[in-house]
């Protein structure tokens, strides 16, 4: 794997955007799931890695999350879900992103998500899924890689 931070610079320059600004991430909780340990840990990890992080707090509908993502002008929405309702909620999140013409915002999923749901989540517009046992490195590189490969919009 190439060094993603270098890639990011190159792609950013090509897309003609300000590459010096840090990656912006909205860490979100969807639906009624109250498990926020993981979301808060991830928020700190991304912050430690130099990203700008906004946390939604609990009990957000897909529509709330998309509105917040647009308002905060983030590159990535990172959703942590442990309630088993990931399929309907990510489907609705994808629909809201399309409806608000915000499909350029990457969606990364984490939490308790069985492998056999990965394909369906991908169809709903989830760009990457971070497995449960992921360590800091994987969480950070997953986001950097998404942005490096496409550039920022």
């Amino acid at each position: 794997m190439t060094d993603s931070s270098n890639n990011s610079q190159g792609d950013g320059a090509r897309a003609g955007i300000d590459v010096s600004s840090p990656i912006r991430v909205l860490v979100a909780k969807l639906g009624l799931d109250g498990h926020d340990r993981g979301a808060k840990v991830v928020a700190r990890i991304l912050r430690d890695a130099g990203m700008e992080v906004v946390y939604t707090g609990l009990y957000k509908s897909p529509n709330d999350v998309v509105s917040a993502a647009i308002q905060e002008d983030v590159d990535v929405i990172g959703v942590s879900l442990l309630s088993g309702s990931h399929l309907p909620l990510f489907q609705e999140l994808g629909r809201c992103l399309r409806e608000k013409k915000a499909e350029h915002i990457f969606v990364v999923a984490g939490g308790v998500i069985p492998e056999h749901d990965y394909a369906a989540l991908s169809d709903s517009g989830v760009d990457a899924i971070v497995p449960q046992e992921a360590r800091s490195d994987l969480i950070v590189t997953t986001i950097r890689k998404l942005i490096a490969e496409r550039g920022r919009i």
Binding site: L32, V41, S61, S85, V112, P114, P131, S136
Partner: protein, 563 residues
């Protein structure tokens, strides 16, 4: 009176110095120890060996005898000889009928108590047709909208014979009302109903994060529930003070016990302020702790918790009945310790944690399913979990002697160290203005988030080992496809149809009138809301309608943004 004579202790100290200078020094010379520092998970320093000198200062009265103050050695005089712990596996999913079927399967497998998980809309006081319930109905627990659903949930189960634990929190007072109404309808003697509601609001705001109203009205609802239950259903525990969730959200063993004791103190003060005598409700306070990975720390945690609780009830609240000072605990093994990678390893993790809970003296236990890191457990996983408890209970002879580790120099020292640390936290909470104020300020939340982050970094660095994840990983270490519990897509529709039918067939004018009366009562702090709520559920008001009526009075909780 201490446990040893001063002369014996002097002798041991002298001998230990000799041993350190000779045998130990030589061993360290030829092979250094693997780590520079040894400590428990919560950071208490561990010596390489403990002797009588380490417990010379502990008075014999702090150990006492099982079933007697300060209960260090156990809650009851005969412990498992008289009554084994209750095998109480929690279950709940889909419509009430689906969970009812699982209950019957588990009773047949040898489970001795029931425990209900509710879905998120039910926990948060929303009906199944509420827009926020989208995608969540019957998912992580059973969906309950009306008293009829409670009736369906326990169909064919004799509630006078089996105890029922209800894992319900912000909407607990409504579920209690439904439980009582359903039991009355079946003609049960309410004085014979046994079981437990979780109903621990402060731990919700800091850990499990299910809430409806601001903190103070939520505590008032608990106060009303405790006071009503003490008279109406005297054998039911109206609260399970849940350290489990404090651990689940990142807290260590000391935080688990210290914070939950701080909450216990706050609740007792509320009920006493409302005019009830401590001995009239304290015997029905119950507890729920985790059994986590650090084996001896966990065993000592249970022992220290019993002693601290007994002292709080006796010294601070001047309880007179021994039952008011006896900490009874349901234990669940640590879901956080389970991994998707090589998930069969979870069986071993759970078995060891369960053994720790038994050596620590639990009264009831849930062992996690090996597939818990994937989804809610399958029937097969639940059967293995029940078998794990049965093997510990029936095959390995750990139940014949009470508190078999009592008297171990190490166990007694660590129990004392943990107790001392718990008192320090309790003093700090008191100095800072008490638990309710600190929950509102986010003080506990910040401590727990910091602890969760520290634990995550320890796994990152490899300092905390997770076998198959960051240690002993080989080419075949991976997560398998497991058969997981299926979700019933029809579940939501059925709940919605039933709600529509209820609303079409009841006296809506009466429901509206009662809802208005409930809201009016809520405006005053000194009326118990339970009688009106029981009237409401009997009139077929829905859970969502009742919770919403009070939201109009009290507003919703706004979470402090702590990351």
């Amino acid at each position: 009176m201490t446990l040893f004579s001063a002369q014996a202790i002097d002798d041991i100290r002298e001998k230990q110095v000799e041993w350190e200078e000779n045998e130990l020094a030589a061993a360290l010379q030829s092979r250094p120890e693997e780590k520079p520092v040894y400590e428990t998970e919560c950071g208490i320093a561990l010596k390489r060996i403990y002797t009588a000198a380490d417990i010379a200062g502990i008075p014999a009265s702090d150990l006492g005898f099982p079933g007697a103050y300060p209960f260090t050695r156990g809650a009851y005089p005969t412990m498992y000889r008289g009554r084994p712990w209750t095998i109480r596996q929690v279950a709940g999913f889909g419509n009430p009928e689906a969970t009812n079927q699982r209950y019957k399967y588990m009773i047949q497998t040898g489970q001795t108590g029931l425990s209900t998980d509710f879905d998120l809309p039910t926990l948060l006081g929303l009906d199944s047709d509420d827009p926020m319930a989208f995608g969540e109905v019957g998912r992580v627990g059973v969906a309950i909208d009306t008293v009829d659903d409670i009736d369906r949930l326990f169909d064919g189960i004799d509630l006078e014979k089996i105890s029922v634990s209800l894992t319900i929190n912000p909407s607990a007072w409504v579920i209690y009302a439904m439980f009582v109404a359903a039991a009355e309808k079946r003609g049960y003697d309410l004085h014979k109903l046994t079981g437990t509601l979780q109903a621990d609001p402060l731990k919700e705001y800091v850990a499990q994060k299910e809430w409806i109203y601001p903190v103070r009205p939520a505590v008032r609802l608990l106060r009303d529930l405790i006071m009503h239950s003490a008279k109406t259903t005297p054998k039911l525990n109206p609260i399970s003070l849940s350290g489990y969730h404090l651990s689940d959200v990142g807290g260590n063993a000391l935080q688990e016990i210290a914070f939950i004791m701080a909450f216990t103190i706050a609740y007792c003060e509320e009920v006493i302020d409302a005019g009830m005598d401590i001995d009239d409700f304290a015997p029905r306070l119950s507890f729920f702790f985790i059994s986590h990975q650090d084996f001896f720390e966990q065993i000592c945690k249970f022992r220290a918790a019993r002693r601290v609780y007994a002292k709080i009830m006796s010294e601070q609240f001047h309880a007179r009945k021994p039952e008011s000072m006896r900490l009874r605990v349901h234990v669940q093994t640590a879901a956080m310790s389970l991994t998707k990678v090589e998930h069969h390893n979870n069986l071993m993790r759970t078995a060891i944690q369960a053994l720790g809970a038994v050596l620590g003296g639990c009264q009831s236990m849930h062992t996690n399913g090996l597939d818990e890191a994937f989804a809610i457990p399958t029937e097969e996983a639940m059967k293995l979990a029940i078998r794990t408890q049965q093997i510990i209970r029936d095959e390995i002879n750990v139940t014949s002697v009470i508190d078999p580790l009592g008297g171990s120099y190490f166990v007694e020292r660590l129990t004392r160290d943990m107790e001392n640390e718990i008192w320090k936290v309790l003093d700090e909470v008191k100095e800072r203005g008490g638990a309710i104020k600190l929950v509102e300020e986010g003080w506990f939340q910040q401590k727990l988030a910091d602890s969760a982050y520290a634990t995550f970094k320890k796994i990152d660095s490899g300092e905390k080992i997770s076998v198959g994840v960051n240690r002993h990983v080989d080419d075949t270490s991976g997560s398998a496809e497991v058969h997981i519990h299926p979700y019933d897509d029809q579940c939501t529709q059925l709940q919605i149809e039933r709600l529509n039918a209820v609303r079409a067939n009841r006296d809506n004018g009466r429901v509206q009138q009662l809802l208005g009366e409930l809201a009016e009562q809520a405006r005053s702090d000194d009326i118990n809301l339970l009688p009106k709520t029981i009237e409401l559920v009997k009139a077929r008001a829905t859970l969502g309608e009742i919770c919403s009526a009070l939201r109009d009075v009290w507003g919703s909780y706004a979470e402090p943004m702590i990351v």
